[in-house]
Assembly symmetry: C2
């Protein structure tokens, strides 16, 4: 898992270089055929990437987005009308039977279909009309890491292809920023000691970093067997906050930008409750560090020019410290992050 | 909270009687104006009701459904194109500023809007073109119960108005079945003793009962301060299952029907891991009781004729034992379920 986390800057750079030409072709095609809505179908880590797509695509393109509920198609055998939709299935292996079924049925209805997968010869790559190939090499660790960031990158490219104001010269800086986040590796290993006996936690993110809360919590559950909740700051306030008392461990993604006031309010609340917090932020948001029990500050940020949200490109670099934290904490707890109990790499569900 | 749980059969019967005539008018209107997709906007318990709507409406009407992400509208100030949509906002108080904003912007774009609320004079009731009034009286307990089942009932009526095969003579039996579930009150009070020192748990549901997993977990978090995860059986298998070891407390909604094979597989898995399970089921699914550590069996089920899913009307009666369990467990733990720490009845978020 640690080796694969460290491969991410190279995998991202390679994926971007290899997929951009086809993305330009896709852009031309979609200009003549704008979908009425977008459906994203996935499971596990890929579903967390879909959660990112749910936000990015709706914010940046104005096209309504829905996350598919595969059981509606597999168990209830319903066929919602996806004729005017863009349907995107996301799967590391490309062999997730339920999400493949959603895509297949949608294509038969006339929907335009895109697959995001690591495997060029997978069923998904054959089923979809356009394929984004995550060029991260085979992922051996059961806990997905480089797959997730590669899928996020593909979703930026889909947004671009749909005409969203994604500046490619900014997107090209993401692998470098990811490398900067990786430079925190040794520091995070030392810091993770503190959490040796943590058995539950809550992870909070908002907007474009909401999916990172899901993904960090999933890594904590999979590799550290921590019962990790995940909420947006708004949803946590609507009830679950009652479970948070003194010393309750909380983890927060807190970039500068439009989500910061809401995250700041959350951090002040957690502080007033005596909860313990670890915030992941970067040098552009000095305030976050002050409000937290502990802070992981990613060096520098990327050079931005546009009027797009300040946090637009934070999700990929921000998940890296969380991945490192989970991988190190698993080892500290005496567990093997590459082979969590109970799990196998390809999970097939109905 | 207990008093309000017990008011549910009467509140449901009253709501059904009062709203059906307007539902027939709505049905006529929607027959001439079928939406391309449906967006549901809510927070907290109402968002769990929306999760139910996400499944019921897509399964029963074939119209694609999306759960709104309010921050896209409030923080990012994006305006996705909801012109051809039916937008439904759900709020007990009708004063949830973020979901009201989603509805208001959608209506300005030309979307047809529906509000589900307990308060006839609320902002939501004024903003929406059609209002379903949950006639449950004012809800005093911070932990919502009768609001949730009333909202579920309204969603059945929306499905009916959209032409779904919801048999009204079957829907009319739901208040009675809910009363039967309430007859388990004393039994559940005794059983809850066993969980006095439970501090974490996972709740599992699938399809139409997926929202009940969210709602039961929310009650456990709000009133018992239990760190309660919630997953579909498929999502739990995709990673989080690693956190489940011997004695891990699990709660499952397991009606007969199309979700049962998937839930059964989950129960067998939990059993093989030595986890502790409490299953909520009814007399029509004898198998569930055998696989669980403990079972709550709702007496009888309703008289069904149609070919609709066997579990179609289970969500309302099935949540009742879960509500009772949370309310009794809170008292057993020395807590006040009517006034959880930190919370107030109306939560306003950005």
């Amino acid at each position: 898992m640690l080796a694969e986390i460290r491969q991410q800057p190279a995998a991202l750079a390679k994926t971007l270089a290899a997929e951009l030409r086809a993305t330009e072709r896709l852009k031309k095609f979609l200009a003549t055929r704008r979908p009425k809505f977008i459906v994203l179908a996935a499971r596990g880590t890929s579903d967390n990437a879909a959660q990112f797509g749910r936000y990015l695509l709706e914010i940046a393109t104005g096209i309504p987005v829905s996350l598919a509920a595969p059981s509606i198609h597999t168990l209830y055998e319903a066929s919602p009308d996806f004729k005017d939709a863009l349907v995107v299935a996301i799967s590391q292996s490309g062999e997730s039977t339920d999400t493949n079924l959603v895509l297949e049925k949608a294509r038969a209805q006339g929907a335009f279909t895109i697959g995001i997968t690591n495997e060029a010869n997978s069923s998904l790559a054959k089923l979809a009309e356009h394929v984004f190939l995550v060029r991260a090499g085979r992922e051996k660790s059961v806990a997905a890491t480089k797959t997730y960031t590669g899928q996020l990158l593909a979703i930026y490219m889909i947004a671009y292809a749909l005409g969203a104001p994604i500046a490619l010269d900014e997107l090209r800086q993401v692998p470098d920023w990811t490398a900067k986040a990786l430079s925190l590796d040794d520091d995070i290993k030392i810091r993770a000691e503190r959490y040796r006996f943590m058995d539950h936690a809550v992870v909070v993110g908002r907007g474009l970093n909401y999916s990172n809360a899901f993904e960090f919590a999933l890594k904590l559950m999979e590799t550290c067997y921590v019962v990790a909740e995940r909420f947006s700051s708004a949803d946590l306030m609507h009830g679950p906050i009652a479970m948070v008392g003194p010393s309750f461990p909380s983890f927060l993604f807190a970039p500068a930008g439009v989500t910061w006031p809401s995250m700041k309010e959350m951090m002040e609340k957690l502080r007033s409750l005596g909860a313990e917090s670890l915030v992941i932020t970067d040098q552009s948001n000095a305030e976050a560090e002050k409000l937290a029990t502990r802070a992981i500050v990613i060096p520098a940020s990327l050079q931005r020019k546009g009027a797009a949200p300040a946090e637009l490109f934070t999700p990929i670099p921000y998940i890296v410290p969380a991945q490192l934290f989970a991988a190190h904490l698993a080892v500290i707890k005496g567990l093997n992050p590459d082979q969590p109990r109970t799990l196998s790499k390809v999970t097939k569900t109905m």
